[in-house]
Symmetry: C2
Subunit: 201 residues, 2 copies
């Protein structure tokens, strides 16, 4: 085993450090976040920092970077109080990745990438997604350590093929082809290797 120290990290070229540091969590979720601004213009952006906060109520968090540049997703969520989380599969992976590009606010990522908007209630989902959640903003916590923020949302609805949810509440992620990620550029499919019983001492 090689030890990479704080000094080694500091000496890394910037892009290599970002690639390395954003690989450290390992295999991460990735979702397209769907929003609208107050004028109704839609936006899609990939987030790989979605995290489960609790089950009753069902709460999910995600991290947003400092808003030193225009952050359409964050400002749209603040403006409307709602957003969607749309999981990826291989058929929409390239289009989803392309949503990370910096389009002007006037240009919707739906138009730019060919993904289809599915509008329902106040939500704008990705029609092609096989697992998607309508979310209501609960709170935005400032993370002073590096000027990021934790966006906290409550799950309002989940849309998924009925056959992919078991009686026990499990969702068949490999069957749906749900994509995971690491760093900013690498995508995975998941192969189940074990399902283990509740651990007792």
């Amino acid at each position: 085993m090689k030890t990479i120290t704080l000094a080694d990290l500091a000496a890394m070229e910037k892009l290599a450090r970002v690639q390395f540091a954003s690989s450290l969590p390992g295999v991460k979720p990735v979702c397209l976040v769907g929003t609208r601004d107050a004028a109704g213009r839609t936006n899609l952006a990939p987030f790989s920092s979605v995290v489960h906060l609790g089950s009753k109520p069902a709460l999910l968090g995600m991290i947003t970077r400092p808003d030193t540049v225009e952050r359409h997703t964050l400002s749209n969520i603040i403006e409307t109080g709602v957003y969607t989380l749309n999981h990826l599969h291989r058929g929409i992976l390239e289009a989803a990745h392309q949503c990370a590009a910096r389009y002007p606010r006037e240009q919707s990522e739906f138009d730019a990438t060919g993904l289809t908007a599915h509008e329902e209630d106040s939500f704008v989902f990705v029609a092609e997604s096989r697992l998607r959640m309508g979310m209501k903003l609960v709170d935005i916590l400032p993370i002073e350590a590096n000027n990021t923020r934790l966006i906290i949302g409550a799950v309002q609805c989940v849309q998924v093929p009925a056959a992919s949810v078991s009686e026990d509440g499990s969702i068949d992620l490999p069957g749906l082809g749900i994509i995971a990620s690491t760093a900013l550029d690498t995508y995975f499919e998941a192969v189940e290797v074990a399902r283990l019983p509740y651990a007792k001492a």
Copy 2:
């Protein structure tokens, strides 16, 4: 697509709701968190809520549940200010899962499961892990929405086989056999399906 509403979620049996809600983020990281208490007694606990917060400095977050029951990991981190994150592979998966059981503070999960402690500086790593980080506590943010907390740590060192890190900073997670998870019981290996270039508008 079936829509599961807030009313459907509320009507779910408790275990099914937990299983369902904790599957919604999709394919998640999972790490063993290694700590010591002030008396030097070691502890290991699996966390599936590790999230990348930033790269300069390299910061990682993780969520801990309300401390209505004894939370050894949280109290140990507060006592000592340090912890380790140890990624899993198939060879240590069952032992790592078993660390979720509620052992008394006197019994180390290392002894209970046969995992090997690797002690270095103030850190207690899992010797069998192929990707592990020494962490320094930076902050603990209360999440009022459900009384959980975000533990924020700064990466102090990373231990990984030298051959698994590329010049560009990428870590070969599939080559290391890094395990991902969903819900509380399901584990995956990752198969790379794409590495995509930086997206431009």
